[in-house]
């Protein structure tokens, strides 16, 4: 089988994987690394459930070939919470503001929000809506997610580290 060797930083740790050429980043994360937080909601980049960060930018892991992250950094929802049960402020805000219902879209939502706040630490509600429009949710009507992201931004969740 044709396989490509990929070395990259995964949630801060240097890792290497050998996967077939046609494997997507999402497949590699879920199957090879058993990180199943990122979900396949559509496989076509239309729902955002698979959102992870590559070089701090949000991408649809379902559309990206695994080979594309060679030499890059990848962050998934599993890399957000710190040690000793400490959540990222965004995760806390999603919990506290009722932004989670069925939860299938949640990891992707949080990663999109992470990238949004990294670029724009104090987004308006409209900027949140536009910036996260690539993440679909069928349960919440989005309102509580907007609230959660706005609340996290007030708490100063801007850069990579939880504070």
């Amino acid at each position: 089988m044709i396989a490509v060797k990929i070395s990259f930083l995964l949630n801060g740790d240097p890792v290497t994987a050998e996967v077939p050429d046609q494997v997507t980043l999402l497949e590699m994360l879920r199957e090879h690394f058993e990180l199943r937080g990122a979900k396949e909601g559509c496989g076509y980049g239309e729902c955002g459930s698979c959102t992870v960060l590559v070089e701090q930018e949000a991408v649809n892991a379902c559309l990206m070939l695994a080979a594309f992250v060679n030499g890059k950094s990848v962050q998934t929802v599993e890399g957000l919470a710190g040690k000793q049960c400490r959540l990222d402020p965004l995760q806390e805000a999603f919990v506290e503001h009722g932004a989670v219902q069925c939860g299938f879209c949640t990891p992707g939502m949080i990663m999109s929000a992470k990238a949004l706040l990294a670029e724009n630490p104090r987004p308006s509600r409209d900027q949140i809506r536009r910036g996260m429009a690539g993440n679909l949710c069928r349960c919440t009507g989005y309102a509580k997610i907007v609230e959660a992201v706005a609340a996290a931004s007030k708490r100063g969740c801007s850069c990579g580290e939880s504070s």
Binding site: R30, L35, R36, G37, A38, K39, E40, G41, C42, G43, Y44, E46, C47, S49, T76, V77, E78, L80, A81, L87, Q91, F94, V95, E96, H97, G98, V100, Q101, C102, G103, F104, C105, T106, P107, I110, I128, R129, R130, M132, A133, G134, N135, L136, C137, R138, C139, T140, G141, Y142, A143, K144, I145, V146
Partner: protein, 771 residues
């Protein structure tokens, strides 16, 4: 009959109920730790894949699976010809693997289990099926005609033998009494659930023949019963079936029935002798999951000069698709608004469900009510206008009230309809904004829905088991299902309140038929009411046991004792107290000791509908009003929602934050239904099986929602609560259509309310005349 429940707080402020508490499983979900069917893996697990027909109606001449069988990694290939026949659906008209002929473009013809999904997909491509196309019919009206192709020949007709009919009073006399009458026809499209997590299940046989099915079902126990039938077909009649719930990635009614794919997975697991998981792709989810059906509704309503409704006459044709799932029984719920939304003394309703070669119909949030309410409430505006009334005033005149018995026999307990109308009037600034015809307009849509369960089956019950450990930690095992709506949390709040413990001490377990007692399923907005009451009674029973033990430990009369903050104390003399955990340990660690276990099986005080379709089939009724202010771009026909308000009589908000989540999420689905969503089919094939072309709302499309919660205190509800899962989308479409009419003078009688329909006639070809 159940007792009237009152909170046992004895006038003390509620500790847990009424609080904005986070959803219990949110912590797992924000960390990506919740396990959905997509995430589940078993040792030696195989992957299943279905071969779908690519003809809407055709005879199967031959299925050649030989090439698929030879593909390395393939472990089972099944068809209708090498497996026992299993028919599903409540009319048992749907063979899980089709033999002899296919009746829809998405029919299950064969299936494969293989070592990887890629191999399974490849194997399915290698199966060759020879078809002889048959004449097909896609329009239910055509399908009713003499000589139309028969979908099920043995039935002799495409019209289902479910003659839905309800007559209350004398509708013809009601029409004669009317000074004003409006008659119209409304059309509603196929729409679908769009669960972010696609459907799927995992089946695993234990040695000896017992079966476990992991599934995101909404009906664990009914599914167990259905799967037992499959076991019987396999000759495993006396074996056990265990259904284990995974985290549910959205349901909205889509998982309220068992479907061929689940039985196919069981068959594959059986024949392969390995666990098999089958998960739909997004495309399959769109074309293979049954949907909310297409409806044509002819409706007439009339009123007197004084504005009193005198009659309502509705005739419907429902596209059932090729097989029968829960789409065919939605008329039983459509009857509710038709007979009982507003005080209307004379009512006639008939509905025919018709087989076609389309995709088929199932339950979806609102269960027929959105279709019926769109017709009724759009027309209420037209009737009000004709009779010279402000549409909101007209609704106030005819509004339902507490204590009434509706023509269908519903005994209305609490009813906050007038309060909701007033709240929406104020929020929309109705009196100022209405009637301008300047491209901006306001509209409302009222609704009624079941709020106290719905006795569709002989039992509408839910069981709960509660146990307390030696450290006063509480485990609640509930038959209910949480699919994201927050039932876990609401049940915990009710138990916390009743037991006097904090919510952090409660764990709610749902999702294993071996552990919990029965529940009919997460439908009909019933879980807070029915599972909530079940949990409340079980908690009360546990509390009585605890207080009896504490009474002897504290030497106090039991009736004086109460629990608060996990301390048992005397209400008469609060100094006399004992930590709850000490009470529990004292009861346990002694000769002949005991641990507290309590259970309750709650069935609401309701009746099944009788032969005339009358009776009080829910213990409570939920009322609400949607209001919208819109702006219509006259050049492009685009509708912009400027303001959206929902006022909902919920009885009592157990958790206002989660409740708002239901209102906002329902509104999003309702606005999508109103403006954009449309599962388009052509000759039975779904044209838009993806999120790009099936337009559910995005973040950017969602207006701010104003939620107004009206608390009326329902006599039978847990702490006064009524059900609320479905109503938040029921009134959307008429509110928006009425607002568009107010803005433009154009009445669009079909959904979705597209720019094309605003600028052109329905077919998009001929331009409409002026205003």
């Amino acid at each position: 009959m159940a007792k009237v429940l009152e909170p046992e707080s004895g006038g003390v402020a509620l500790q847990a109920v009424g609080k904005r508490l986070p959803k219990l499983d949110a912590l797992d979900k924000v960390q990506g730790k919740a396990v959905y069917i997509h995430d589940l893996k078993m040792p030696r697990m195989l992957y299943g894949k279905i071969l779908w027909s690519r003809h809407a109606h055709a005879r199967i001449l031959n299925i050649d699976t030989s090439r698929a069988e030879k593909l390395p990694g393939v472990r089972a290939v099944i068809t209708g010809y090498n497996t026992p026949e299993i028919k599903v659906g409540f009319l048992k008209d749907n063979p899980v693997l089709k033999k002899d002929k296919v009746r829809q473009y998405r029919d299950e013809v064969a299936a494969v289990a293989a070592e990887s999904l890629e191999i399974a997909e490849e194997a399915v491509r290698l199966i060759e099926v020879e078809y002889e196309p048959l004449p097909a019919v896609f329009d239910p009206v055509e399908a009713m005609r003499e000589g139309a192709p028969l979908i099920h020949e043995e039935k002799g007709s495409n019209i289902l033998k479910l003659p839905w009919k309800l007559i209350c009073g004398d509708p013809d006399e009601g029409r004669r009494q009317a000074d004003f009458v409006v008659e119209e026809t409304f059309l509603l499209p196929w729409v679908t659930h769009c669960c972010l997590g696609t459907s799927g299940c995992l089946a695993e046989f234990q040695p000896g023949g017992n079966l476990t099915v992991y599934s995101p079902t909404q009906i664990r126990y009914l599914a167990q019963r259905d799967f037992l039938e499959a076991m019987a077909a396999l000759g495993l009649k006396d074996k056990r079936v265990r259904v284990v719930s995974t985290a549910i990635g959205g349901a909205f009614g889509s998982k309220l029935d068992t479907y061929p794919f689940e039985f196919i997975t069981i068959l594959l697991a059986y024949y392969a002798g390995r666990p098999v998981k089958l998960v739909f792709s997004r495309e399959e989810e769109f074309f293979a999951t049954p949907a909310r059906q297409k409806v044509e509704a002819k409706i007439a309503q009339g009123c007197t000069r004084e504005g009193r409704l005198t009659f309502r006459d509705v005739e419907m044709v429902l596209d059932n698709g090729a097989y029968t799932s829960w789409g065919a029984t939605t008329p039983s719920v459509m009857m509710m608004p038709i007979s009982s939304l507003y005080k209307v003394p004379n009512v006639r309703y008939t509905a025919r469900c018709v087989y076609t070669n389309n995709i088929y119909a199932t339950a979806m949030r609102g269960y027929g009510n959105p279709q019926a309410t769109f017709a009724i409430e759009s027309q209420i505006d037209a009737l009000a206008e004709q009779a010279g009334f402000d549409p909101l005033e007209f609704r106030m005149l005819n509004a339902n009230t507490a204590g009434e018995v509706t023509p269908q026999g519903f005994k209305v307990g609490s009813c906050g309809m007038k309060e909701c109308l007033e709240a929406v009037r104020e929020s929309l600034n109705w009196n100022e904004k209405r009637g301008k015809r300047n491209g901006r307009g306001v509209g409302v849509g009222s609704l009624i829905h079941v709020g106290g369960g719905a006795r569709i089956y002989k039992s509408d019950a839910c069981g709960t088991i509660i146990k307390l450990d030696d450290f006063a930690k509480v485990t609640v095992m509930s038959g209910a299902t949480d699919m994201g709506q927050g039932s876990d949390t609401v049940i915990a709040q009710i138990v916390a309140e009743e037991l006097g413990v904090c919510i952090g001490d409660i764990k709610v377990i749902m999702g294993n038929t071996d552990l919990e007692t029965w529940d009919v399923g997460a439908h009909a907005s019933r879980t807070t009411f029915v599972a909530g009451n079940s949990a409340l009674y079980a908690a009360r029973s546990a509390k009585e046991q605890i207080l009896a033990l504490a009474a002897s430990l504290l030497n106090e009369p039991q009736e004086d004792l109460a629990i608060k903050n996990s301390v048992v104390y005397s209400r008469r003399n609060p100094a006399v107290s004992m930590q709850l955990e000490r009470v529990l340990r004292a009861a346990h660690f002694k000769t002949g000791g005991t641990q507290i276990v309590a259970s309750h099986f709650y069935d609401p005080p309701t009746q099944m509908l009788d032969k005339e379709m009358k009776g009080n089939f829910s213990a409570a009724y939920t009322y609400g009003v949607h209001g919208a202010e819109v702006e219509v771009d006259r050049e492009t026909g685009r509708v912009e929602i400027l303001k959206y308000v929902i006022a909902m009589d919920v009885g009592k908000a157990i958790n206002p934050m989660l409740l708002e989540g239901q209102l906002e999420g329902g509104a999003a689905m309702g606005i999508g239904y109103s403006l954009m969503e449309n599962l388009q089919t052509e000759k039975g094939k779904v044209l838009n099986p993806n999120f790009l072309d099936y337009k559910m709302l995005t973040f950017a499309d969602m207006p701010e929602i104003t939620s107004i919660i009206v608390e009326t205190g329902e006599r039978f509800g847990p702490f006064g609560a009524k059900g609320i899962g479905e109503p938040p989308l029921v009134g959307s479409a008429p509110a928006i259509a009425n607002a568009v009419y107010d803005a433009t003078g154009k009445r669009v009688r079909s959904l979705p309310l597209t720019p094309e329909k605003l600028l052109f006639d329905a077919d998009g070809s001929e331009e409409r005349g002026g205003e």
